[in-house]
């Protein structure tokens, strides 16, 4: 089994005619994802990689029976694209776009409370259920089907940890990049809850980073609700306060919240071993299996 996506997922790509949208549609199709439609205003009637394009998400969903979307729309229009997707009752919207204004996301976040759709991202690499489907930009070849769930705020760090696992022959049920922005749709807790409920996920690797308190909240959730063992990693131990480390969300505030130390302590107290290196995360996961 898997969480959130599988080989029944039918995908509409928003922004399919742009450079990124086109390239990753090709990659997703090559991986075996059911990309069934594209949506770009003014481009209805065209085709990209054999995929029909519609003017609106609503048309695409109605014509091709899609239940998920991937957003490759530029930052200035991404908030609007997410709203459009949320208004069509999809099961899942994956927003890859980096640089969406935070106040746009605050409005999206409000809407999320009113619909049943799950949003992943923005500023995330997407989600993959190895051998079934990938929605996003993750390099499919490093993943193997297996029994470990992975959830991470960072794209390339996800790849690093996955490759450490795959090299040891440890495959993954589903790997999720939740995104590096201050306001995101799916939190660590949402992903952990789904992994806990998935009978085939036997262990979970969780990669956090400095900024915010999501990791601390996840630690409390793990202690309270999870039987599935979790191993953690926290990036940004050496980050100075007040400096944005690439991700808009990765910043230790002047008041000392969001530090790596606070997150590592919270996870340790919840019984979660935190690796000093990605290799040690794989060690911990291996010991669980």
């Amino acid at each position: 089994m898997s969480i959130f996506v599988d080989d029944d997922t039918r995908v509409v790509v928003q922004g399919i005619t742009g450079g990124e949208g086109r390239f990753h549609t090709e990659q997703m199709l090559a991986y075996g994802t059911n990309v069934v439609a594209g949506a770009v205003p003014g481009k209805g009637g065209q085709e990209v990689e054999g995929v029909p394009v519609y003017d609106t998400v609503e048309q695409a969903v109605a014509a091709e029976d899609a239940n998920a979307s991937v957003v490759f729309v530029p930052p200035a229009f991404a908030g609007d694209a997410i709203f459009e997707a949320l208004d069509t009752n999809l099961d899942l919207v994956v927003a890859i776009t980096e640089g969406v204004p935070t106040q746009d996301m605050a409005k999206v976040n409000k809407r999320l409370g009113e619909v049943d759709t799950r949003l992943l991202g923005p500023n995330c690499p997407g989600i993959i259920t190895p051998g079934e489907a990938k929605l996003g930009i993750l390099p499919g070849n490093i993943f193997e089907s297996g029994n470990v769930g992975l959830v991470s705020r960072s794209g390339t760090l996800t790849y690093q940890v996955v490759s450490n696992l795959t090299e040891r022959g440890i495959g993954q049920t589903t790997a999720i990049g939740i995104g590096g922005d201050p306001i995101i749709g799916t939190s660590f807790i949402d992903a952990l809850e789904a992994f806990e409920a998935d009978p085939e996920t036997d262990a979970v690797a969780m990669c956090g980073e400095i900024g915010g308190v999501d990791e601390e909240e996840a630690a409390a959730y793990i202690a309270e609700h999870m039987d599935t063992p979790v191993a953690g990693f926290i990036a940004g131990r050496t980050a100075p306060p007040g400096k944005r480390m690439g991700h808009a969300g990765a910043i230790v505030s002047g008041s000392g919240t969001g530090t790596a130390e606070s997150k590592i302590n919270a996870l340790n107290e919840a019984g979660v071993p935190v690796g000093d290196t990605p290799e040690e995360v794989a060690d911990a996961i291996e010991s669980f299996l």
Binding site: S154, T156, Y159, G236
Partner: protein, 381 residues
């Protein structure tokens, strides 16, 4: 992006928020002209992006021309925590009886803005938040509706602002929220709001930070960005469009993706080295960006050794390898040893292209970092 105090105060004044009379100056003569106009006492305030300017000697109260000259000479050109002071705000001194805090900021946990008022203003509000959180009244704001007038009143009453000032403070808070929304601010604060001895309520300081991701729709604010960089390297990184943070160590770090670059820094530290910088070349970087990244890191005189760590998703290993060869091919002698580790998309192709006369190649993140740390130690000896 941070606005300077004088820029934020101009925006406040335009919005009808009362601020003290002030004038910007960039020379001693300019300061003297300004105080002649404004009168004494006056405050001479360094316009730099540094917290705690007062303690660091960047704010002085003057009561005579001689003092004004002395203060101007001391502050203009001084180094405040790495930033050079090029401009000062000359501001009318205010005789106050009380100081409050009023602010609007993004509460990322809740995913919405929060309005905050406290009668314990004039001191470090983060310290108040830690020691006496009850002293800060808060009200979350639904982004679809904005700050309702009743909410603005409520948070002011909750903070215990005396009745005779409540109306004026409420008005300032409402206007701050309007500015927060209209300018895509991430943070807007007045600390302190002063109650003057004449019973006026004025914004005596102004902090306004703008969401960098929203600058595309605020060209007028983007133009205000000024003296934002702490050093020439950060300025250069800004021109190149890199996410870059300079640190104090000697192992230069280049990578792709914020989380992985942070991890590389952490590993340098873990294996006993000291990271010199954070440099994220971003996703999908082509050879030309790689050349610029190496130029950045070699420009840092502290750097003794470099580790280049790429895990390709959308970034292709062969493109990165081409960039590394190109950049290093320019040198008769490589300035500092460079360790390269490529993984992911087209990593194999990249490894085959890499000129191993120019770089040391390692297969794993851990071994690459260890080697770079060792290189730095050897150079340092």
């Amino acid at each position: 992006m941070k606005l300077h105090e004088y820029q934020a105060k101009q925006i406040f004044a335009d919005a009808g928020i009362p601020v003290p009379k002030s004038q910007l100056a960039d020379s001693v003569e300019g300061v003297l002209d300004a105080v002649a106009d404004i009168g004494y006492p006056a405050a001479i305030k360094a316009q730099v992006h540094v917290g705690g300017r007062g303690k660091a000697g960047g704010i002085k109260i003057v009561t005579s021309e001689a003092e004004a000259r002395e203060a101007a000479e001391a502050i203009l050109g001084m180094d405040l925590k790495g930033y050079t002071v090029n401009e000062v705000l000359v501001e009318q001194g205010v005789d106050f009886v009380d100081e409050y805090y009023v602010g609007v900021t993004m509460d990322r946990g809740e995913g919405e803005a929060v309005a905050m008022v406290s009668t314990k203003g004039g001191v470090d509000i983060e310290q108040v938040a830690e020691e006496d959180p009850e002293a800060i009244a808060q009200e979350h704001i639904d982004p679809a509706f904005g700050l309702h007038p009743y909410q603005a009143r409520k948070v002011v009453y909750d903070a215990g602002v005396p009745a005779e000032y409540a109306r004026a403070v409420t008005l300032i808070l409402s206007k701050l929220y309007d500015l927060y929304e209209a300018n895509d601010a991430s943070d807007i604060e007045v600390n302190p709001v002063m109650i003057t001895s004449d019973d006026d309520v004025i914004a005596a300081d102004a902090v306004m930070n703008i969401d960098e991701d929203a600058l595309f729709r605020h060209p007028e604010l983007a133009e205000m960005e000024k003296d934002a960089y702490q050093n020439d390297l950060e300025r250069k990184a800004g021109e190149y469009g890199f996410d870059y943070v300079r640190l104090s160590g000697n192992v230069g770090i280049i990578g792709n993706g914020a989380g992985l670059v942070m991890t590389t820094l952490d590993l340098v530290d873990y294996y006993g080295g000291k990271p010199a910088n954070f440099l994220d070349i971003g996703g999908g970087a082509k050879a030309e960006r790689v050349v610029k990244a190496l130029d950045m890191v070699f420009s840092d005189e502290n750097v003794e050794s470099v580790v280049f760590n790429i895990f390709g998703g959308i970034t292709r290993g062969d493109e990165v390898a081409k960039g590394i060869n190109e950049a290093l091919g320019e040198f008769d002698e490589i300035p500092k040893p460079v360790v390269v580790r490529l993984a992911g998309t087209n990593a194999k192709e990249g490894m085959e292209i890499l000129n191993t006369d120019l770089v040391q190649v390692e297969a794993t993140l851990e071994s690459a970092v260890q080697r770079a740390v060792k290189n730095a130690e050897e150079v340092a000896q």
